[in-house]
Amino acid sequence: MADKIDRAALSQRWVHSHEEDTADEMVFRPASYAFPPSRGRRSFQLKPEGTVVTFGPGPDDRSVQSEGTWQLDADNKLILQTGTAERAMPLLRVEPNKLVVKKE
């Protein structure tokens, strides 16, 4: 089993750095990262008390956001629950300025 990821290291806003994705992995960076222009980026802000705000491009490209909760299970799978939607993201590693998620 992989080492347990520290929840505290996750508590910030992570923005999809899709330019760095590979066939198997998705890369997220802190919001302070110098991203190049994009037609739209998904992001999520994980708060220490377990709430999350997700952001993403809406149908007209303006950003839309949703609020919900997040948890990290024993297999390092990050689960975002917003309304009736649930998204599970297997975390591979977290670094101070980089979060890597396995594509499924």
Partner: protein, 185 residues
């Protein structure tokens, strides 16, 4: 669309009044029942642009394009210097949706029958095919203007999308067609 002499381009500079002198300059729109407003400016977060669908407030009706992604010269820079951001946003202004249907689980729709359903936006210059939502063997139509790929990778609208845009110009935006006919007559 032609610029009518009665409305000089300096109108795009916000009028300055005593009460608004400390506010950011926000260009006023031209009448949206007669003109397509295109705002070219800086945008936060690296966003390339956004649009307003038909039926929204006239004061914000039009498209907004990042100055580094507008046109093909000047401040336009790779990989967004072929003018495709305006193509994409005007597609929204004419009521087109993204080809992935704006959901991440294959349940969304763009209300057009001849664009294959896709799960996510595509970015960059994808390798053919990118299959999702059981749309094989050809996969996502990532060369469509309504995906999120680089300018050089998007090249087409489908006939179904053209029909949807034509329906918009015959319906909620019909006053623009009449206006354009008056300008050329």
């Amino acid at each position: 669309m032609a610029s009518p002499a009665r409305r000089p381009l300096r109108r795009l500079s916000a009028p300055t009044t005593r009460s608004s002198r400390w506010r950011p300059a926000v260009p006023l729109p031209w009448p949206s029942d007669k003109y397509l407003n295109i705002w070219v400016c800086t945008l936060g977060g690296g966003l390339l642009g956004y649009a307003q669908f038909p039926g929204g407030p006239p004061s914000t009706d039009g498209v907004v394009i990042l100055n580094r992604a507008f046109g093909t010269t000047g401040t336009a820079s790779d990989p967004f210097k072929l003018g495709r951001t305006a193509t994409h946003e005007i597609g929204h202004w004419l009521n087109l949706r993204h080809i992935w249907g704006d959901t991440e689980d294959c349940t969304g729709t763009d209300f057009v029958d001849d664009t294959p359903n896709a799960q996510h936006p595509n970015f960059g210059k994808p390798t053919f095919p990118h299959v999702s939502c059981t749309n094989g063997p050809n996969g996502d139509m990532f060369i469509n203007y309504m995906d999120y790929v680089d300018d050089a990778a998007m090249v087409m609208f489908t006939p179904g999308q053209v029909v949807r845009m034509q329906a918009t110009l015959a319906g909620p935006r019909a006053t623009l067609v009449v206006s354009a006919q008056h300008l050329t007559s």
